[in-house]
Symmetry: C2
Subunit: 287 residues, 2 copies
């Protein structure tokens, strides 16, 4: 795979960071940026983010060898419809959405017979959002999960995987469903749990928030993420989320019973297993 | 209040950090350290932690103007019994336990008529533990909650509050029960939730742990704390914890229903309220 032009649709935290990463690591590749609002386009122009910046999606996508959807999931189909008629026949199309089954189904259908689509989810982000928070090294060391369906061409998977590696990611391959179930547990549930911890404190004992230590601030950090984006993610991934929430509730209820029984050994074992598993993945993160 | 000698019973993370803080900020005060095991005493001596270090609690406590219990809650009564006969009549006695009702009841009874006891809980800590992790600035800016009972003398409360301010804390006053209910929500529940998130992932989808991002690592950081200590804390505070766990389960179940109903607006509101509350306390932490 090689292409001389990349279209980035949506210059937010991820789209902006991708533009910066492509500029740094894929010299010679033209960067084309679409923004929904003229105000965002102007900001992208002022930053020198792309070689071409426009609010006309078809104009930006036309002729691009790789097209990246970097906007909230709900807005993707409309933009896909706008560009589907003008994209190159062999163009690669992917997205950065945090939920894959609904995206792959909707965009897959729109681009069928028109371009080569495969979903992606680079697991990079921060509690900040927007172009202002964009960084060229945001993807450095992050896992990017590429989610082919049965009919996806091997060359498409390889080309998109290759792109993610070029911007600094480690690549994993999974079906859209396996992806959604996994991120429900390691990303979406922690986000909800963080918000629920703040809400539980607000409702049970709001004055107690004055006494929060660093532990509370760490545990709830992701609750400072953008609510509209996260509400959409949780709802799009609701089938897997319901299972994950149920597992969390069962775990909490189990410990509640152990506390009732004053079963010190069993509580210690529960905590020790969790610590061991966490320390193992933390080490992986450092290496 | 003034005293020329402080006894620190238990040179772990908190006791060791207190010794360092007293050395730095209360010049001229003698530091006496008791350790349960000779090995710990030798380590404390090697670090020059105290002016006197011994495994004989009565020897260390005798003559001290302030006696600090810095050991796990369960071990406190036994050591209290060992020293109760030798402490000065006007000695101040306090502790650093994370749960206050059981400690205040047990130690209060042992020292009644023998010394002036009031409970404390400096909310300083880290996911590390032990003397190796001790730092003289651990208490800098931390809240220390002093928990008098009905009969506690005003001078005792003031003297102990004054000590915590000297080592860098902001002081709050609360009844043991109000303390326990508050920390259940802002400290013990987050700890349990962190462990439950790791356990839910392990049980539902262990392979997913390979895809954890920074959000998962932050949200579960406190799960790396010492399991034996935390199991004891959760069980000692089981009455307040049951209420807190119940509140968390109700919050999770509520969101699960909103996801089922695909109620985007309500989920966004839930997340936005949590973000607002968290950002407010985060700002306080910085200022």
């Amino acid at each position: 795979m090689s292409f001389s032009s990349i279209a980035i649709l949506g210059p937010g935290l991820l789209g902006g960071s991708l533009a910066l990463a492509v500029r740094e690591r894929m010299r010679g590749v033209e960067i084309r940026v679409w923004a929904r609002r003229e105000e965002s386009a102007q900001r992208a122009r002022a930053m020198g983010l792309g070689d071409a910046v426009s609010t006309d999606a078809a104009e930006i996508a036309k002729g691009a060898g790789l097209i990246l959807f970097c906007m909230p999931i709900g807005g993707m189909p409309e933009v896909a419809e706008q560009i589907a008629g003008v994209v190159e026949r062999d163009a690669l199309v992917t997205d950065v959405g945090s939920v894959k089954q609904p995206v792959v189904e909707r965009l897959g259908r729109i681009f069928r017979g028109r371009a080569e689509f495969v979903g992606s989810h680079p697991m990079a982000g921060s509690d900040q959002s927007g172009l202002e928070a964009a960084r060229g090294d945001l993807f450095q060391g992050a896992v990017s999960i590429v989610t082919p369906e049965d009919g996806t061409k091997k060359e498409t998977i390889e080309a998109v995987a290759n792109f993610w590696e070029k911007v600094g990611c480690r690549v994993a391959i999974a079906t859209p469903r396996a992806h959604d179930e996994a991120v429900a547990v390691v990303s979406h549930l922690p986000h909800l749990a963080a918000a629920a911890l703040v809400q539980a404190a607000l409702r049970e004992n709001p004055a107690a928030l004055d006494w929060r230590g660093n532990g509370f601030l760490d545990t709830t950090r992701v609750a400072s993420g953008p609510p509209a984006m996260w509400a959409e993610i949780l709802i799009e991934n609701r089938v897997a989320m319901k299972k994950a929430i149920h597992a969390m509730i069962e775990n909490l209820a189990e410990v509640s019973k152990l506390l009732d029984a004053e079963d010190l050994g069993a509580v210690e074992l529960y905590l020790a297993e969790a610590r061991l598993a966490r320390d193992r993945i933390k080490k992986k993160a450092i290496s």
